[in-house]
Symmetry: C2
Subunit: 384 residues, 2 copies
């Protein structure tokens, strides 16, 4: 069911990295932002005289009540405000979410917000990737399996495991526009013995048209050693009942070639900046090595990312980019076996162009691969 | 009712700037992304043989049907997908929005998304400002007054006017956390003869607690001459029925002093970068001149911004910052007359610190003020 992991690389799409959130008692045995019942803590609207019964009666769900060392019951306001379900939910009114496909896949209705679009009124790729993250986390959230942190199940938390993404493939057939109501479906399946596949389909609510598809592969990593881990039986038992065979992208076997350092476009000496520390900004950074004229005239219609290693915030990174030999493709051409869906034939006489990418840590002796990528761009429609 | 305007300055909060979106027919008289009924355009799922009656029968609302020069009726798919109301709506299921206060104020229920929070699980200021933008635009959206562009009414569009913000004051009493359900209320009032005030209140759905309050002042600008404009009668007639007296921040008269160039902290030679062109990243940039230790240990609890002039993307900008003479304030102290709401007294023995800010265009002869600011910071709560 996993979704998100710690992936400190600053040039990756935002949904691939997020500092995990521990939710532990503060020093002194009293959880932060909790309210002592009949106690002296004053971080809540509930007065210190309020008896526990009166408190719990006003709560939307049963909050966690912790008994501290000095035997004072404490209501965790974080829990009340977050309200993470401990049992599977079929509907969530506030998230506009529901379980589908017999209760194992998740659908969320989402409106494209004003700040998620570019000057052309179309959602940015960054916004779309953010929504993939959001819906996958909400899938886990509603499953009742969400432990501490971002997407790890209870069983994973117990073994100190987090999810890391190893591959991501997204195809945008038609960018959603400002105010458009989308239906985002997400579902998971097995990937080898120890991995998980997570797919997404985005449809326009008004037209029923598929706007975007994505598939991704995830494995588990030991949070302390940073080594990949087998899937423990406990986690498999939680996750595998959610696996289905359905796929968002039917043909998805393309491997990305490794670029040499003689690539046509290169940006070296890239360092994470303070503003990069907000994990929402990574996709823009990933564009560093794309030629300007492509960014200005085209929009991305397919991206494949293969992750090789974690990147720390102190790494110095080089971004390489090479146009594919095929150069300009006629629209409608099948792109190296990756199906673009039927709508690619609607490009008419517009051209596509493809690039191979490599991000690597610049080392003294040898460079280390962080990420290989493949992108396909098509001409931007005329300004609306 | 206005919300958003073109404000190309790259160091401003994102919700203050967005390229306007024109929605005009493409060259040749045929609107882009529209479908010729019985015609030859192939950008839609509807086949060219589908008769108009069959098309309109499947549409969620009546789409705009444009008759082109050669008298072929055309369905605008942009309109179908956006579906902007032409009459006042009291509820919007997809936006989780409804009109309140007798039908003139707007309330939207919003869940804090996973990518809107920082490592401390709290929503970033940037996310909150984005949601203020979003709810104000949805207020206009549901009013039936939304013309082309971002927040301008039909009457404003007719006179080629856009909204520009002249002042913004936000107070965050308690940052919303990941997964928290918020209720965001927004409403408008008169501000002088030609201006409009727009306020917001953000509450926690689970606890009822006020999390944040904001107020802002807006005036109209001629889009071509870039000069401020009187409010035309036509626009006043549209907007003034929505004005109410209610205020989110009761005491809001503070003026920000102008900093001299001898300010303690300064960053010069700031230039808009490609990644700044995504208008969502401005708040981070605005932090450039804040001392690192403040950014690391504290969170912003109040910000006042006074806008002086537009800034173009070619301007070179200097950011100045000076700690206030009062230095460290005891919590609970009234901050220069700006009420922090009752919850400030809950800070206990934590300290606050204030800064005055100035952004200016670096000119050959004299510098030109873009923005004055005042920020108040309090110690970040212990990591959760």
């Amino acid at each position: 069911m996993g979704a998100i992991t710690r992936q400190p690389m600053r040039d990756l799409p935002c949904w691939l990295g997020h500092a995990r959130v521990a939710h532990e008692p503060a020093r002194g045995g009293e959880p932060h932002n909790c309210v002592k019942i009949n106690g002296s803590s004053a971080t809540s609207v509930i007065s210190r005289q309020t008896p526990l019964a009166a408190v719990t009666a006003t709560l939307p769900l049963n909050p966690k009540v912790v008994v501290t060392d000095d035997e004072i019951p404490v209501v965790c306001w974080e829990d009340v405000r977050q309200n993470i379900p401990t049992e599977k939910q079929l509907m969530d009114q506030h998230r506009q979410g529901m379980m589908i496909e017999g209760g194992v896949a998740y659908r969320q209705t989402v409106v494209v917000r004003s700040y998620e679009v570019g000057p052309d009124k179309a959602a940015t790729l960054e916004s779309i990737l953010n929504l993939l993250q959001e819906t996958s986390l909400n899938h886990v959230w509603m499953s009742g399996l969400l432990g501490n942190g971002f997407g790890a199940t209870h069983g994973m938390v117990k073994h100190d495991l987090i999810w890391v993404v190893s591959r991501m493939h997204e195809q945008v057939e038609n960018y959603p526009i400002w105010g458009e109501v989308m239906e985002i479906d997400t579902f998971v399946g097995a990937s080898g013995k120890n991995g998980m596949r997570r797919d997404w389909m985005i449809r326009s609510h008004a037209t029923g048209q598929v706007l975007a598809r994505a598939t991704s592969t995830w494995v588990m990593m030991d949070q302390k050693t940073r080594r990949l881990s087998k899937m423990p039986c406990e986690a498999r038992a939680e996750i595998s009942p959610w696996f289905i065979e359905k796929r968002a992208i039917q043909e998805d076997s393309e491997k990305v070639a490794k670029l040499g350092s003689s690539a046509t476009y290169a940006k070296s000496n890239l360092r994470p900046k303070r503003c990069d520390l907000d994990i929402n900004h990574h996709v823009n950074n990933a564009k560093y090595a794309i030629p300007d004229h492509v960014l200005e005239d085209s929009q991305l219609c397919s991206i494949i990312l293969e992750y090789r290693k974690e990147c720390s915030s102190t790494d110095v990174v080089q971004s390489l980019c090479e146009p594919d030999d095929v150069g300009i493709l006629e629209a409608g051409t099948k792109l190296n076996g990756s199906s673009m869906g039927s709508d690619v034939s609607l490009l008419g006489h517009q051209d596509s162009v493809r690039f191979t990418h490599l991000l690597q840590v610049e080392g003294d002796g040898k460079d280390e691969e962080i990420l290989r990528g493949h992108t396909t761009w098509k001409k931007r429609p005329p300004s609306m």
